[in-house]
Symmetry: C2
Subunit: 362 residues, 2 copies
């Protein structure tokens, strides 16, 4: 257990946006919200999965919707509090710890906002080890845990609770409500006992994000290529380096979907790469070949500063470096790939594990 | 308090379809479901609003969605039971009486199904005194009562609970869920104490329906024109008599919307009439004039038998009589007309009270 410093919060925000693979929201927004909450309500304690009491009631919290919406419709905080109170009322119990659903510039930080307000700890874990577009794409779902009661709340005072027939119905009904509620809503779901979190959650996601964020901050102040240093430190794979020459973006069925075209720079000169996204970057392909796919992490960083670039912010002319990180082993199983593999998102190709061999230098 | 006979159930079904003004479902379906439940679980007791205990927990129940969907996707009963159980769990109390939300061939009968299964009485009242398309078009809403928690359930095992910001949000979110859940769902909402039912509900709707149904049955067996006898007995107004020459019907945003064109027969020969509907018949116009509008009741009956004709069953060639009945006085107020007047449904005209003078003979 440790108290999170302002610097830690800032590092978690930036690092989570890297792990968020383009989704999960903008880190400056997430950082601002968390620091504001800590200043108003007091410090936040981070606890490890091991430190968690077996009987504690733990609830994951975050926003769902298109990240493009989140840019203009900033979460006010009240929707999170409404969802939180409804969850406690429904369970007839007090929530004892909170955790992120996914890694993301906003979604890793919102649990800190609630933790500060409620004076409860944040668990250093999440349910994806990255970010995914759909609400049931969690290791909890993979392990047969129920999201019930799943609570959605908006800033207008609406709250909805779902008891879905299965994971697909959960996603379908929650997405429909999210769109009607304005494109983004607060979600609290999968209320779990500490024991279930220990067994199922992906541990250490927040401290990994902090490490990534801290690396970028330190390298940035000392070196010319923070990205190269980060690739080495994280044992990441360089997938591409290039300039954004086209972005196709549309908001469809409550998602930000589209394609980014890159033309190579540096050692990738005269080559092309296409990034396909649905909230998150889900596949990279070039010269007729699939380079990397979901569930592995495809992270786009600013070439110069190493700052993570989200799918809603990426635009023409940006100079980027695309790196790959292997996903959590739970996603590389048959069940895992059925839930979050590329075909699940309608892409006409199978999962291609990130190659260890195309590691290059920026 | 009295036990409902098989004949009463049958009369209630037919009479409710008359009061349902074309909506609320097909009476043969409703009748079949109620009689089947009574045979399986035992008799149903009907109690008046006066007999209701002031502290009893009373919950209205019914189906929402497009009646056209209900024809093919017949309620299985399990969705009602799921919604019922969820409501009891949420309230932490046992439901002590059930009542219809609206008058309708299915919606007046579903409470009887639940009453038989649960061994509780049905209250002789409803919240509309007719049927309306939207879920919050109730006298409860008019009186500031909250629908919370509003429980929706489908036959696939999904349950959703809404705590809406206001009536429009309730309708909007519930409609979105209904469409996604397949076009029709069971709804239990406005959990009330007996005292609130006494103050707000429209009393006697089921016994009025029974009287209408019984009239049609008796007249039908004795006379040539059951419709004319019914007009006299109910002090209804003859609005039109004619043959259906065209039906425009579409399922839009979860509603069955459209228009029926009639060409006059009998004393209406050489005249034309148009009926506009959205689940229910909401306006009648002819020769450039508005003849009758919501919230007054516009009921379409088979010319020969007096059988009510619903909006999903009306078709080319049917010979019909259109009668008008004044709505409950609560709907003729400014607030009432704002909620259920013709402009609310997008029609470009104001409420026209049913004239007393065009009473004619069939």
């Amino acid at each position: 257990m440790r108290e999170l410093s302002r610097e830690s919060v800032s590092d978690i925000a930036v690092g989570s946006a890297v792990l968020g693979t383009g989704g999960g929201g903008d880190p400056s927004l997430g950082q601002w919200m968390a620091i504001h909450a800590i200043e108003e309500y007091g410090p936040v304690r981070l606890i490890t999965v091991d430190e968690l009491d077996r009987d504690s009631l733990v609830v994951p919290a975050g926003m769902m919707g298109a990240p493009t919406v989140l840019v203009e419709k900033i979460p006010g905080g009240q929707e999170l509090v409404n969802a939180y109170q409804r969850m406690e009322t429904l369970l007839g119990k007090t929530i004892e710890a909170i955790m992120p659903v996914e890694a993301g510039g906003v979604n890793s930080l919102l649990p800190l906002v609630l933790a500060a307000q409620k004076g409860i700890p944040v668990v250093d874990a999440d349910s994806m080890g990255r970010a995914f577009p759909e609400v049931h794409m969690t290791v909890f779902h993979l392990n047969g845990l129920s999201p019930e009661p799943a609570v959605l709340a908006d800033e207008k005072g609406n709250t909805a609770v779902l008891y879905p027939a299965d994971g697909d119905w959960y996603e379908g009904l929650a997405r429909e409500l999210t769109v009607r509620m304005g494109g983004s809503v607060a979600v609290l779901d999968y209320p779990l006992r500490g024991e279930q979190v220990k067994q199922s959650a992906i541990p250490g996601t927040l401290s990994l994000a902090e490490r990534v964020g801290s690396m970028l901050r330190q390298f940035h102040s000392r070196e010319n290529s923070p990205v190269q240093s980060m690739i080495e430190q994280l044992e990441a794979v360089l997938l591409f380096q290039g300039k954004v020459v086209d972005v196709e973006r549309r908001t469809e069925s409550g998602f930000a979907k589209g394609k980014v075209c890159l033309t190579g720079t540096g050692s990738y000169r005269e080559r092309e790469c296409e990034l396909l996204f649905q909230n998150e970057f889900l596949a990279a392909q070039g010269e007729g070949k699939v380079i990397a796919t979901t569930p592995d992490l495809i992270c786009v960083l600013d070439e110069e500063t190493g700052t993570p670039v989200t799918t809603e912010k990426i635009r023409y002319g940006m100079r980027t470096v695309v790196i790959g990180l292997p996903c959590h082993p739970k996603w590389r199983t048959v069940d895992g790939l059925n839930l979050v593999g590329p075909r699940r998102f309608g892409y006409p190709f199978d999962y291609v594990p990130i190659p260890k061999t195309i590691q290059g230098s920026v």
